[in-house]
Amino acid sequence: LIIMASVFEYAPAPESRSVVDIAPSYGLFIDGEFTDAADGRVFKSISPSTEEVLSEVAQAGEADVDRAVKAARKAFEKWSALPGSEHAKYLFRIARIIQERSRELAVLETLDNGKPIKETRDADLPLVAAHFFYYAGWADKLDHAGFGADPKPLGVAGQVIPWNFPLLMLAWKIAPALATGNTVVLKPAETTPLSALFFADICRQAGLPKGVVNILPGYGDTGAALVAHEDVNKVAFTGSTAVGKEIARTVAGTRKKLTLELGGKGANIVFDDAPIDQAVEGIVTGIFFNQGQVCCAGSRLLVQESIQDELLESLKRRLSTLRLGDPLDKNTDIGAINSAEQLARITALTEQGEAEGAERWSPACELPSSGYWFAPTLFTNITQAHTIARDEIFGPVLSVLTFRTPEEAVAKANNTQYGLSAGIWTEKGSRILAVANKLRAGVVWSNTFNKFDPTSPFGGYKESGFGREGGRHGLEAYLDV
């Protein structure tokens, strides 16, 4: 008996929503309590895959920022005086609670952000817990971190994070700050405030002293007020280069310590001796992970001209197998774009790409009727001069360029205002080392892409920002050294 060949259709395999209980409304988290905004303002957080309203969240204004900074200042006295082993105790506890609640948090993050459950479950949440574990380990060893004996914390850290990895960016900010004895006021992005508010609950669950962590949902004006507050000692921002520049201007001339992690236009360089099948996977991971809404995305593919056709054919075949749809389905590879605003930006930039003569390609792909969606897209026939080869699109859009020699590859890879990430694909080890040394990018991946680890410092060159997060280097941003 031979079974008739039929398409192997994967039946829907949705992760259950019932593991997360989202309240109809949330307050600001100040001094260990959830509280309304002073002026009573609220905003809605919606699910970008369905446009369903998930919750109504208090919107922090200037008065709330002041209240939160005061609470953090007050808490700083006792918190900073605790021995490192005590800081570690709380951080380990937080890390464990995150692991225990990881399924709940993964579903929440998928609902609020639109990214596939596969990613929140297998990437975001494990990395969040790992980051807290890692910095918990440093807390009682700061004497040995290379910053002299008994390095001191800075005080109150004002932190502003983006919407692309809401909880992970929170972890990158809060874990090193607390491990070094600082207290924090953190503003999550307006489109993804919920996981930060769940984190507030985790702080309470962990018995973290009041005021050590304060969470202020809000828009850009909230962030601006926080950054400008005179009693903030340290400002950490991850987001767009334009806003980063504004913050740098605000902070200039003050005693505030500043780290910025901004945009990128990462080059993924594929040499003719690359492991082709794995390179294709790396290109896919590089630009379609999190719908390309990743500051270190490999958004520029630089492929050696001699293998361009072969590589593009493999890449297109692979893209045709990507599964776009319900982010809660465990088999979904490509989820929703985070907001209408971001979708509009991606749409505008890709239209400009076409207008400038680039050749556009997407696999056959049906987009859901509600929510914000964008099909995985390739652009070929483009040069360094095209807008889509220069501007950060922050979406599932890959610009394909070619090179002839390693020198040309390096020159083109570096020919950008940014310098956050790069990738090198070759089976030749000596070439990896030679090329990596010449790339002006904070992270250079070889024969892989978008791999993250709390032990590895992350940050940019040029307009991608300054300062490093992660690793031993990440401690420096929060120490008075």
Binding site: L1, I2, A5, V7, Y10, A11, I276, G282, T448
Partner: protein
């Protein structure tokens, strides 16, 4: 001067000499171990439920080469295996038959009788299986013995010693000779013993070597060494058959063997097939599982899907 197998024509004269063959095999793109294994693991997280699971289980059953390759094999054992292949689940006649039974050459005639009229094929290992350490004449006699007893398929082993020594032409010539001995009546599966080839680069080279020499199937392993079929080495071989067809128009089957014991594992392999080689390979003419204990787990899962209850190992037959 090796005889050129038909598939090689599209690739020019790569098998014309030792050096052209070596240059070709060493010119294949390298395999990055970390990336390959990560891709296999990532496809392993696909969640196959309800209707998809029912389809996959029946497909997997239909792809099993139900195998007994023991020194203790007897006609009785082989007849029981044949009966099991024809009616895997005697309580449910809608269960598909397995693809084949796989035995040693001296059991082929018994196996043929046991599956007569059912459509179940008889595969025979040959060429001094599993080590392959015998003279070519002896290996070919082994193959002719199996074919003349009625084997529909021959599972040969390559000379791993020759391969590891870089003597690709010797390996190629042997496969061509065995293929010739199979004639038109038996399809040839070429076993690489991937656990002994050790590196993924070697597995890719062996895959192309086998296909150039006329393999109808490329097969991971004998089941007799420590490392047998894995998701990663099977994924790699699926890439090889996909690329080979793209270049030559010739489709070649893949058979992972050894170590696949659960339905969950089998479904993961089918996901690899689906998302790598594509649906043209989702058919037992092009994909097989070399396994013995897998079948009963597939049957138990099939019963559970049908009844909603998990019955347990006493409700499937042990043969």
């Amino acid at each position: 001067m090796p005889t050129t197998a038909p598939a090689a024509h599209a690739l020019g004269d790569v098998t014309a000499s030792d050096s052209t063959l070596r240059r070709f095999l060493h010119g294949l793109p390298g395999v990055d171990t970390v990336g390959l294994e990560a891709r296999a693991a990532s496809l392993g997280t696909r969640s196959i439920k309800t209707t998809a699971k029912a389809y996959a289980i029946d497909l997997a059953i239909s792809m099993v080469d139900l195998t007994t390759l023991e020194g203790a094999d007897t006609p009785g054992k082989v007849r029981a295996l044949g009966a099991k292949a024809v009616h895997p689940d005697p309580t449910d006649r809608t269960t598909p038959t397995t693809a084949a039974v796989c035995v040693y050459p001296d059991m082929v005639a018994t196996a043929k009788e046991a599956v007569a009229g059912s459509g179940v094929k008889v595969a025979s290992v040959a060429t001094a299986f599993p080590a392959g350490r015998a003279a070519l004449d002896v290996k070919l006699a082994d193959v002719r013995d199996a074919v003349s007893a009625g084997a529909d398929e021959v599972d040969m082993v390559i000379d791993r010693g020759a391969f590891l020594a870089g003597n690709y032409t010797k390996v190629y010539d042997e496969i061509v000779a065995v293929k010739e001995a199979c004639g038109t009546s038996a399809r040839l599966k070429v076993i690489f013993e991937t656990g002994e080839l050790s590196t993924y680069d070697n597995i890719r080279r062996a895959s192309w070597l086998g296909m150039l020499a006329g393999a109808d199937f490329i097969k991971t392993s004998t089941g007799k060494v420590a490392v047998n079929a894995t998701p990663a080495n099977t994924l790699l071989m699926l890439e090889a058959v996909r690329d080979f067809r793209a270049q030559t128009g010739v489709q070649v089957g893949v058979k992972p063997a050894g170590g696949i014991r659960t339905s969950k594992d089998a479904i993961k392999f089918l996901v690899l097939v689906n998302e790598t080689a594509g649906e043209d390979w989702l058919d037992n003419h092009w994909f097989r599982f070399g396994a013995s204990s897998l079948l009963n787990d597939l049957l138990m899962q099939r019963q559970k899907l049908a009844t909603g209850r998990y019955s347990g190992p006493d409700y499937v037959t042990v043969d």
